[in-house]
């Protein structure tokens, strides 16, 4: 098995301590939480660093799931497993449980965290698509204090986020609105694989009318793709197969997939369409009580 190059290890005992260490060590320092994004890259020597700052002890400060009437707040150190198992979260945002079921595998989910996944910023990363779909914001703390950014602002490019040197993602905030539900659809070549394409959808309805809808795609562009054009097309409409097909067509237009071992660009574009439709349909079914 491949092994990392040498580095120094430190353990943070608080968020402020972690930030202080990051500032001291500079750009050659990285945080490690679950480690299942970073450590494999270090073993393959694709990521080389001098200082590794372990934040796994910061569960009290950063590992939480607070579900309120207007907002859900999730600490960055919350493990995938907890996101999967929380019935409250599943009731509020079914998209989380849908996605977590198909993220990595059960053993990796014991370690991996929300923050780690978002900060890796892999274009195929599922929770990024979930957060984009739900219009989440990210709280980034530094020694200067906190700032809150949108998902669009959070992603600057493949593997690049707004978390700069000396900063740490502490929390993800998701607005809660009545009359909504959500769903996630992913196609992969095999369990545990990265998505060939996945689509998250969130829909809000008032009676039989859609008041708002959001779709987020993964693996079909440099970063998670949120598609405002779909929201525009769906607002004020009644759900129907034609409407879903319309949304799917927009999704297919608004992504830039690349041909690779997972699939051809044409196929991925087709999936963007197909999965958008499925995710929307399922979200609506959950609102109207016709489906799970």
């Amino acid at each position: 098995m491949q092994v990392p190059a040498p580095f120094e290890y430190e353990r943070a005992n608080s968020v402020d301590h972690a930030i202080a260490l990051l500032e001291q060590r500079g750009s050659e320092a990285r945080l490690v939480a679950g480690g299942h994004s970073l450590l494999p890259m270090m073993k393959l020597r694709l990521a080389n660093l001098e200082y590794l700052i372990d934040i796994n002890d910061l569960g009290t400060e950063l590992g939480y799931l607070r579900i309120g009437p207007d907002q859900v707040r999730i600490g960055a150190l919350t493990r995938h497993r907890d996101l999967l198992e929380s019935d409250e979260l599943a009731a509020t945002f079914p998209i989380f449980r849908d996605a977590e079921r198909v993220i990595a595998d059960p053993v990796v989910r014991n370690r991996g965290t929300l923050g780690g996944s978002l900060c890796q910023a892999d274009p195929s990363e599922d929770l990024s698509a979930v957060c984009t779909t739900l219009n989440a914001s990210c709280v980034i703390r530094s020694s200067d204090g906190e700032r809150v950014v949108t998902m669009d602002e959070f992603y600057r490019g493949p593997y690049e986020t707004a978390v700069e040197d000396g900063q740490i993602l502490t929390e993800v905030r998701i607005p809660v609105r009545p009359g909504g539900s959500s769903a996630y659809e992913k196609v992969e070549r095999r369990a545990g694989d990265w998505a060939i394409c996945s689509a998250g959808a969130a829909v809000w309805m008032d009676g039989s009318q859609i008041t708002d809808a959001r779709v987020g795609l993964a693996a079909v562009g440099p970063n998670t793709t949120g598609i405002p054009a779909i929201s525009d097309a769906l607002r004020g409409q009644q759900p129907s197969d034609e409407l879903y097909a319309q949304a799917g067509a927009i999704a297919a237009e608004h992504c830039s997939p690349a041909t690779d071992m997972r699939g051809s660009a044409d196929y991925k574009r087709h999936l963007a369409d197909e999965l958008t439709q499925r995710a929307l349909r399922r979200s609506v079914a959950r609102i109207t009580g016709e489906g799970a």
Binding site: P6, Y9, H36, L44, D54, R111
Partner: protein, 165 residues
């Protein structure tokens, strides 16, 4: 750097490089070679051990990160000379052939049964879906876990049932 952790109930202190992976610490420093490794990308699961009671891939955990925590390996399944029902189940139901993935599979299965004493076939397949077996085709692993589930808490009769122990 120095690290102290508990392995199979015993406290262990060692001087290690920060980059030493937990799987190598267990195997090469402690001689607990029941935990294996088989890939470079955290996919195969032959390295699964427990960290604070939960299955983790020990190839993706630094020994340093396990400092102050509890690790449990396959060597700890047998207690007081009695095999765990999981181990019995794997023997009874031909859940292993080459044996290389087996410790990892059993550690995950043990954790599953501790949380879900009556798992469905789907639950079992899901639980082991992050681990690869090249030999068995998984049906016998599922049956092994099901056997253990029906014999859990019944160690004495489980021991008697095997033709070899």
């Amino acid at each position: 750097m120095q690290v102290t952790l508990t392995v199979n109930g015993d406290e262990v202190t060692a001087d290690i490089e920060a980059r030493l992976l937990l799987v190598h610490f267990l195997r090469d420093h402690l001689g607990l070679t029941g935990t294996h490794w088989g890939c470079d990308t955290s996919n195969c699961g032959t390295c699964v051990v427990w960290l604070d009671g939960e299955p983790v891939k020990s190839c993706t955990v630094l020994t340093a990160m396990a400092g102050g925590h509890e690790v449990r390996t396959v060597e700890d399944l047998e207690q007081g000379g009695e095999l765990d029902p999981i181990q019995q189940g794997f023997m009874q139901c031909h859940g292993l052939q080459c044996g290389f993935c087996t410790p990892g599979m059993m550690m995950t299965a043990r954790a599953l049964l501790d949380r879900n004493p009556n798992p469905s076939e789907e639950d079992i397949r899901e639980a082991i879906s992050g681990q690869i077996c090249r030999c068995t085709g998984y049906s016998t692993i599922v049956r092994s876990v099901q056997w253990a589930a029906t014999h859990d808490g019944d160690r004495d009769s489980a021991v008697a049932a095997g033709s070899t122990s």
